[in-house]
């Protein structure tokens, strides 16, 4: 692929920067959550929530900073990504604040920890940190291709991040999954950051090896099978995913990494065989692990028929409660603040926050949220299409693909489409690591899309043009 080959999406003429579109969309992305916030306050307490002005200004300010930095440092970036992330983050804050008002959850926290502390202020703080990181990415990462230099460092970093929760003294086993570490009183989920770091490694590695992986292969039963030595890396990633699954009890993250790798491998090599091999390996691995992990087995049973084991298994009760939340919401939902999605008690504002969307905003709301996520994913995929360099393409599709898998795994889990795994809904769920990492992810996509949509620099006038005849291959 040559650099000057223009796809249909990139014209040779200078594109409009679309920054004003972004600004207009951002206004909506800030105003909608403010209305939602007022709505919750009116429904729960019968009056407008006290911090409404501060909340509105805070969200507006954060969005404004984001927009300013994009306008200044990533002028040609995709205009949809920032407003979409802002809207989801803003509504997430409202949902978390709404669940903070739940007496049931307050009582639960008092019983379990002796005191209840609201999550919304923390989440607002993490959002600020996330947007700071977003700004940091845009300021420091002038060109995403610099990340290519860190291919192997990224691999090491990702491995370290993934192993951290298992390190004694650092890791914290919370509700059966060892995916947290606690540092200085903060709980961090390294897996969320590992997602981005490992995408750097995959993109860098595959860019270099793609020809070997694609071409040096044998044909067997209509499939191109890679050579043994090229299977090495995929086997390693596979083993790593399984180890995460076994030691950290985290089916979701393991699926996420493996899925991301298969997607990137397929894009890099254009060989369908990799998808087949990937699917076979993931199914095989999952079956083997499910065989000796009670945790996974319980989740599968809960998925098959949550109401059959509703009273006997916690996993079944969670899924059952979640399904009843969705069902009780119906088409239009109960309205914010008027549902009982908090009946699920456990992880109501993190893993199961989408149930609250289901109950209080109904089918209409859930579809709107899914479409918002779908838009982020497809804007990411489009960024990959538009990117001019293979590293950028791989990196962008890796991140978007991982995002898509994460949405599918989490939403599919709480809706009973697939077995439930403990992961968080990006931007909605309460959790610092998740929101910070996802803002970084959006920052990177914006950077890549800016590079992709930026008009190609005019060929530098060659000073030798008149002295030397350069024979260019056409």
């Amino acid at each position: 692929m040559s650099v000057v080959t223009n796809t249909t999406t990139i014209g040779a003429i200078e594109l409009p920067s679309r920054r004003n579109t972004e600004l207009l969309l951002l206004v909506f992305a800030v105003v909608i959550p403010i209305f939602a916030y007022a709505n919750v306050g009116l429904a729960v307490h019968g009056k407008l929530p006290p911090g409404m002005l501060a909340y509105g200004l805070g969200l507006g300010l954060l969005a404004g900073i984001g927009h300013f930095v994009v306008r200044r440092y990533a002028k040609y970036a995709d205009p949809l990504l920032l407003p979409l992330a802002t809207l989801l983050n803003g509504l997430g804050l409202v949902l978390i604040w709404r669940l903070d008002q739940s007496e049931r959850l307050q009582n639960l926290a008092e019983r379990q920890f002796g005191a209840f502390s609201p999550s919304a202020p923390n989440q607002l703080f993490y959002t600020a940190v996330g947007i700071a990181l977003f700004v940091g990415v845009l300021l420091l990462l002038k060109d995403h291709r610099t990340l290519q230099r860190f291919t192997y460092i990224s691999m090491a970093a990702a491995l370290v991040l993934l192993i951290l929760p298992v390190v004694p003294g650092l890791g914290a086993d919370v509700f059966g999954a060892k995916i947290w570490i606690s540092v200085a009183g903060f709980s961090i989920q390294p897996g969320e950051f590992a997602k981005i770091v490992i995408a750097v490694f995959f993109a860098g590695y595959l860019m270099v090896k793609r020809d070997a992986l694609a071409l040096a292969s044998r044909r067997f039963m209509g499939l191109y099978l890679p050579r043994g030595r090229d299977l090495g890396p995929i086997l390693m990633i596979w083993a790593m995913s399984l180890l995460i699954l076994i030691f950290e009890n985290d089916l979701g993250t393991s699926l996420l990494f493996f899925g991301m790798f298969v997607i990137m491998l397929y894009v890099a090599t254009e060989r369908t065989s990799w998808i087949v091999i990937g699917l076979l390996m993931s199914v095989g691995g999952a079956v083997v692990v499910a065989g000796f992990s009670g945790h996974v087995e319980a989740r599968v049973n809960a998925w098959l028929d949550p109401f059959a084991c509703y009273t006997t298994s916690g996993a079944c009760e969670q899924v059952g409660q979640s399904l009843m939340s969705f069902g009780s919401g119906g088409v239009l939902g109960t309205g914010l603040g008027q549902g009982h999605s908090d009946l699920i008690l456990f992880a109501a504002n993190s893993d199961f926050i989408f149930s609250t969307v289901g109950e209080e905003l109904g089918l209409a709301g859930v579809m709107a949220f899914l479409l918002l996520y779908g838009l982020i994913i497809e804007r990411g995929a489009r960024t990959a299409l538009a990117a001019r360099d293979p590293f950028g393409k791989l990196f962008a599709i890796g991140l978007s693909g991982a995002f898509a898998i994460q949405i599918f795994v989490v939403a599919g889990g709480v809706m009973g489409l697939i077995p439930l795994t403990g992961m968080t809904m990006p931007f909605l769920a309460s959790g610092g690591s998740s929101v910070i990492a996802n803002w970084a992810l959006i920052g990177i996509l914006i950077r890549i899309s800016d590079t992709a949509r930026r008009p190609a620099p005019a060929p530098a006038p060659s000073p030798d043009a008149e002295m030397t005849q350069v024979v260019r291959p056409s």
């Binding site: 692929m1 796809t7 007496e103 049931r104 009582n107 997607i263 397929y266 894009v267 890099a268 254009e270 109401f307 509703y310 059952g320 399904l323 009843m324 969705f326 069902g327 009780s328 919401g329 119906g330 088409v331 009982h340 009946l343 289901g358 109904g362 089918l363 859930v366 579809m367 899914l370 479409l371 996520y373 779908g374 994913i377 497809e378 995929a381 489009r382 990959a384 299409l385 293979p390 393409k393 599709i397 978007s400 693909g401 898509a404 898998i405 949405i407 599918f408 939403a411 599919g412 809706m415 009973g416 489409l417």
Partner: protein, 485 residues
């Protein structure tokens, strides 16, 4: 590289599409099923989210609601004189479900009934909170009190009807329970519930509607009615052809009388002193199928007597042998009746042979007291012609004036009745049930009562319809007549 990229983009789109399809499935197709599952606590939460409407007797509520703290359920049901009214109201417990009127009229009481749709819609615009409607019963507090007090520490039940309409005036069951004691969902409520549920005394059973007893001699009224209706007897004072001892047909077992002078006794005399032989013989002469016919006209074998709380079906066996039929004619063998059923028998006689359908809900009202539904008295059947009813009335009045029911006499009222002492248990060893059914009429009103007392503390000899049950019936009838004017 773009071809696989496009494919991946489509793949990601499919993932989102799968989620979209799934949410439509959950929230549209399965919504109804999921939102009403028994595991779904939202159902109960909605039930107790607003103040529940009241059940009303004689203009005064016998129920209430209080706000609870720290519970999923905002309002809790309370009861005024809970144990006395429990057979009428049933219970509405946050944790243990609801029964009887609280259950059957739940939609009115919670305000969810379709007929309250208009009120709800207006409430949506005016911002008024949703309210429950009321259930106005036919019960008469004075009669209910007399009945419940009369039962005292005995086990038993009392039913009083207005023979002219079928309206239930008293419906008492003892020992009773206080539905307030487990209306909430606290540990204390649970304890109260568990101890009641497993109690040997079966407090939760509504004996007036949901327990059948052998009716004993009180059933002789039905047998007499059958004999008159099927023209086996036309003159109640003519001697019947009854040998002494009377041997049950097809057996060698004699039918024992508790009283002398039963040989060839007239129907009137036989009822007065409660001759077993005469009525067993009478039942045999009427024949089984015709006995069944009359008994069913009185309401026996009807599994759907809805007041609206459904009473158990009383039984008169349709397939038993000849000797079984003879024994059944004196209310033993397979015959079993609820107290309500026996009150219906007395009521039909008192109402000149016309049996009115028993009911206890007079009307349902909206929160603003508009009547949503009014129950009109309904004729259920005509077990007796007016002429025969008159004869039977004379016989029952005779029982109270000269026979076993003298303790039920009331000044200024015509009272007819019949006692009963029903044996039961293996070889009839258990303490017998004491029965009394009666009616009283004045020119201003009328009432029919059935009283049953099981397993009383009194000694075996004392247990007779006359000694234990008749005074209660008298008090209840007096209370009703006084209230009627």
């Amino acid at each position: 590289m773009n071809k696989p990229l496009r494919r991946i983009a489509i793949f990601c789109g499919l993932l989102v599409l799968a989620l979209l399809v799934r949410t439509n499935w959950l929230q549209y197709v399965q919504a109804e099923e999921l939102s009403t599952r028994k595991e779904n606590r939202r159902v109960a939460i909605a039930q107790y989210a607003q103040e529940r409407g009241n059940i009303i007797a004689n203009g005064k509520p016998i129920t209430g609601s209080v706000v609870t703290d720290g519970s999923d359920y905002k309002y809790k049901r309370t009861y005024i004189d809970g144990p006395m009214w429990a057979p009428v109201t049933g219970f509405a417990s946050q944790a243990f479900g609801s029964t009887q009127l609280e259950n059957l009229e739940d939609k009115i009481l919670t305000g969810n009934d379709d007929r309250l749709f208009f009120d709800r819609t207006i409430g949506m615009f005016t911002g008024e909170k949703r309210q429950g409607g009321n259930v106005v019963t036919t019960l008469m507090p004075a009669a209910q009190k007399a009945a419940f007090k009369g039962l005292g520490s005995n086990k038993g039940a009392v039913v009083a009807l207005d023979p002219r309409t079928g309206a239930i005036l008293a419906l008492a069951s003892a020992p009773s329970y206080d539905p307030s004691s487990f209306a909430g969902n606290s540990k204390k409520d649970e304890k109260a519930w568990v101890s009641l549920k497993d109690s040997k005394n079966k407090e939760l059973v509504n004996r007036a509607l949901r327990e059948t007893y052998p009716p004993g001699s009180t059933f002789k009224v039905v047998t007499a009615a059958a004999a008159l209706e099927h023209k086996v007897v036309t003159d109640i004072n003519a001697p019947t052809d009854t040998p002494e001892p009377y041997i049950l047909p097809g057996t060698r077992t004699p039918m024992v009388n508790q009283h002398g002078g039963c040989k060839n006794a007239s129907l009137n005399k036989a009822l007065e002193v409660s001759c077993n032989s005469v009525f067993a013989n009478m039942g045999d002469k009427v024949t089984r199928d015709k006995m069944v016919e009359t008994a069913e006209k009185f309401g026996f074998n009807d599994p759907e007597i809805d007041t609206p709380v459904r009473a158990f079906a009383s039984v008169y066996d349709k397939t038993m042998s000849r000797d079984g039929n003879a024994q059944s004619s004196i209310g033993q063998f397979n015959t079993a009746a609820t107290p309500l059923q026996m009150a219906m028998v007395a009521a039909a006689v008192a109402n000149d042979g016309k049996l009115m359908k028993p009911y206890m809900v007079d009307r349902l009202t909206a929160p603003n007291l508009d009547v949503i539904e009014q129950t009109d008295p309904q004729e259920m059947s005509r077990p007796l012609s007016a002429e025969n009813a008159e004869k039977l009335q004379a016989m029952m009045v005779n029982v109270v004036e000269k026979g076993t029911g003298t303790r039920a006499q009331i000044d200024g009222a015509t009272v007819g009745g019949k006692t009963g002492t029903a044996q039961h248990g293996e070889k009839n060893k258990k303490r017998p049930y004491a029965w009394f059914i009666s009616y009283a009429t004045t020119d201003k009103g009328a009432v029919a009562v059935a009283v049953v007392i099981e397993d009383s503390n009194a000694t075996r000899e004392d247990i007779s319809g006359s000694g234990l049950a008749a005074p209660i019936a008298k008090d209840v009838m007096q209370a009703v007549l006084k209230a009627q004017g």
